[in-house]
């Protein structure tokens, strides 16, 4: 019994509007190497990355607050397996609570020897202080920055 298969690829381009809040956030990163959060007036929490409203209170956020460049690791992982269209392993990434923010922002962790997972995991343990590094050439994207372990 001959069984056939048909190969199909999904390839559609999307242009997602970032809106004013996210656009301003990325422009500051690109132009001034400064990360900002935005405060939800009802809870007082500074949301970073910023949103125009809080999904907890549904209130509009109302104040830009500069955050970082120091922060601490809230969670991490180290990837050893290759996945299509994702970077060459090994690499480490996770979420960082920047000073001044109340929520954590995602980013890569660089400059840590990842050859031994258990050892690298202790270097990236939750609570580890980190410093934000900015790319020389920035385009206004989350990849314009990453984190290194602070001394």
């Amino acid at each position: 019994m001959e069984l056939m298969t048909r190969v199909e690829r999904w390839d559609i381009t999307y242009r997602h509007a970032l809106g004013e809040t996210a656009s301003w956030f990325f422009a500051q990163i690109r132009d001034r190497k400064q990360i900002y959060g935005r405060r939800d007036p009802k809870s007082g929490r500074v949301l970073c990355p910023p949103r125009a409203f809080s999904d907890q209170t549904l209130q509009p956020t109302n104040e830009w607050v500069p955050v970082g460049p120091r922060g601490k690791i809230e969670c991490f992982t180290i990837v050893y397996e290759p996945f299509k269209d994702l970077p060459e392993p090994p690499y480490a990434f996770g979420y960082v609570l920047l000073e001044g923010a109340d929520t954590a922002i995602g980013g890569y962790f660089k400059g840590v020897d990842l050859s031994d997972g258990a050892v690298a995991a202790t270097r990236l343990a939750i609570g580890t202080p980190v410093m934000t590094q900015f790319a020389e050439h920035r385009t206004g994207d989350v990849l314009d920055f990453w984190f290194t372990v602070a001394k």
């Binding site: 559609i12 999307y14 509007a17 409203f53 999904d55």
Partner: protein, 389 residues
């Protein structure tokens, strides 16, 4: 024996920005959700559950309920999604209220324009086994259906042109800043052919909108004063089979089946259904006419005469699509929920510029998929009827 719970629509909103790029999709959904709650006179804490509907392929997100969830008050709340159709979100919202497990539901749908090509996204809906290599998007499917109908109904083309003109005229009254042009029959007839026999005068290009509705039980409504309510007195939904070649495209039996369910519940005559207004699926005028027949409102041998007489125009025997329909403004994926909300607002007396005086009963019909595969019918009224089992 517990009594049957009745459902009413008590609030609605449409967010259709002139420049969609100013806001992120999350922000647009937040705006429409808050607007619907304001219209209902409630806060998010009064909402017991949420049903959303959108199409992942149009969105560029693999599980679109995720992104929407926070925007519409989903955190800590019971939220689910019906990507099959925007009108299915309404159906499920009603079922949830009628189950007695929820006093209220917020129902939201949206249709973004962020993909490079709506047509390309729609073509992914064709099966990869036999039909994916064909240029089969929704417009092509409507054209196939139109040709099947023209083969059976002499003079149909002129009736289609008149119907397109009617809806464009209605749209110009209702929402002049959005309504598609041209509105003149000659220009519609001689417009550029997109997919024979559909001209660019018979359809509207895809537009962005988000639509929301608030549903509540009769007990909840009874406990509050001043709810402008459209009671859902009957509801039905049904589907055709998928392969267009397995269907007779000149008929729409699933719509007749859905209407039968809705009319039975609402106590409306199956042979002679009467309403003050109707909002009916009209991706092209051919589908509006086919739907009117399947809904028992106008058999095909009367289409041409009815269109000439203006039976379904404002001021006619049964105004259909006073909002202008999709022929005037086309937020592709959420057209179904738009028809329901427009009908409901006519009953509630808050339809706006196109409000018809004295609307007591309204019919809404939404359809989705290739050549109207899914059909949903909602009968609404100013008073709540006893549901017929």
């Amino acid at each position: 024996m517990t009594k049957a719970i009745k459902v009413g629509l008590v609030g609605s909103a449409v967010h259709a920005p002139r420049v969609p790029e100013r806001m992120s999709l999350e922000e647009a959904l937040h705006a429409v959700a808050m607007a619907a709650l304001r219209d209902a006179g409630i806060g998010i804490d009064d909402v017991d559950g949420i049903v959303v509907a959108s199409c992942d392929q149009l969105e560029g997100r693999a599980i679109s309920i995720m992104m929407a969830s926070g925007s519409v008050g989903g955190v800590g709340r019971d939220i689910t999604a019906t990507p099959s159709a925007s009108e299915h979100a309404f159906v499920l919202g009603c079922l949830r209220v009628r189950s007695g497990m929820y006093r209220t539901q917020l129902v939201i749908s949206w249709s973004p324009l962020e993909s490079d090509s709506v047509s390309q996204a729609q073509r992914l809906g064709a099966d990869p086994y036999f039909h994916r290599r064909l240029p089969l998007d929704e417009l092509s499917s409507f054209a196939l259906q139109a040709n099947a109908l023209e083969a059976e109904v002499p003079g149909l083309r002129e009736a289609a042109i008149a119907t397109a003109r009617k809806n464009r005229q209605h749209g110009f009254t209702a929402y002049p800043e959005y309504a598609s042009a041209p509105r003149e029959a000659a220009l519609i007839r001689d417009g550029k052919v997109l997919r024979w026999p559909i001209t660019d005068g018979m359809v509207s290009p895809p537009a962005f909108a988000a639509v929301a509705a608030v549903l509540a039980s009769d007990d909840w409504i009874g406990a509050r004063a001043g709810c402008k309510t459209a009671w859902v007195n009957g509801m039905g939904w049904a589907t055709e089979t998928a392969f267009l070649g397995d269907r007779d495209l000149a008929r729409l039996d699933s719509l007749t089946a859905a209407a039968a369910q809705a009319y039975r519940e609402a106590g409306v005559s199956q042979q002679d259904p009467r309403f003050d207004i109707a909002e009916v699926a009209d991706p092209t005028p051919y589908q509006e006419l086919l739907s009117l027949e399947a809904l028992g409102l106008c058999p095909r041998d009367r289409w041409v005469a009815a269109a000439q007489r203006g039976d379904f125009a404002a001021g006619g025997m049964l105004p259909v699509n006073l909002s202008g329909g999709a022929i005037s403004f086309n937020p592709v994926f959420c057209n179904g929920l738009m028809r329901i909300v427009e009908s409901a607002n006519q009953v509630r007396g808050c339809a706006g510029r196109h409000q018809q005086a004295g609307v007591r009963t309204a019919l809404a019909h939404g359809a989705s998929g290739f050549a109207m595969q899914y059909n949903t019918v909602v009968v609404m009224g100013r008073s709540a009827r006893e549901m017929q089992p």
